[in-house]
């Protein structure tokens, strides 16, 4: 199964993880979080990211979610991308995570496409009469 890692500004990632644990009513072992804060030693964070990728990769690859393209968490992650094995997705939201964690038998690239579609489809203006 594909593993997951959230690398975000501050506690965005861990808050999203808490949200999906609540929804699925269980802790998900193949999902980990690393927060990046202004005073962090980036080299130490890179070591932590590397360790988490290793931990969560059962052979089917790892998808790393981050919040904003071009920001430090995203920029750090570029060094870890291995085509079709370790991939990075920006713009993480709860819909993407739910979609990813609901997928049990799909390969990494299919899950990435599903996540992108879920994220796009779930940005909507709510009609109170609907």
């Amino acid at each position: 199964m594909v593993g997951y890692l959230l690398v975000t500004h501050g506690e965005i990632g861990s808050s999203l993880a808490d949200c999906v644990y609540h929804i699925f009513n269980k802790k998900i072992s193949r999902l980990d979080c690393i927060s990046i804060n202004p005073t962090d030693d980036i080299d130490k964070k890179k070591i932590a990211i590397s360790q988490k990728i290793k931990k969560n990769n059962s052979g089917d690859g790892v998808i790393i979610f981050t919040d904003i393209i071009g920001a430090t968490p995203c920029n750090i992650l570029k060094d870890f991308i291995i085509k079709n094995k370790v991939e990075v997705l920006t713009g993480v939201n709860a819909a993407m995570l739910i979609k990813a964690l609901s997928s049990k038998n799909k390969d990494l690239n299919n899950i990435i496409q599903d996540c992108i579609e879920a994220a796009e489809e779930n940005i909507l203006q709510i009609d109170p009469n609907d």
Partner: protein
Amino acid sequence: MIKKKIKIINKLGLHARASSKLTELASKFKCEIKIKKGNEEADAKNMMDILMLSASFESKVDVTFSGIDEKKAAEEIEKLFLNFFGEGE
């Protein structure tokens, strides 16, 4: 095919955790299960599909069951709705 019209009676409606429970239960059956609210239709085995229905308290959904174990699925899915998705209210 079995069709059921079900009123959502739990206060929070078909919210994320309820949808997760519904998906988990629906996925245990081989039959196709579709949930329709207005013109929108969702696959009951796909949580994001269900959430997109935005089905709140007291809204009505049409649920169709189609396949080998449809009778058992219809019974259990209806029970989950009527049991407030295990939320107590």
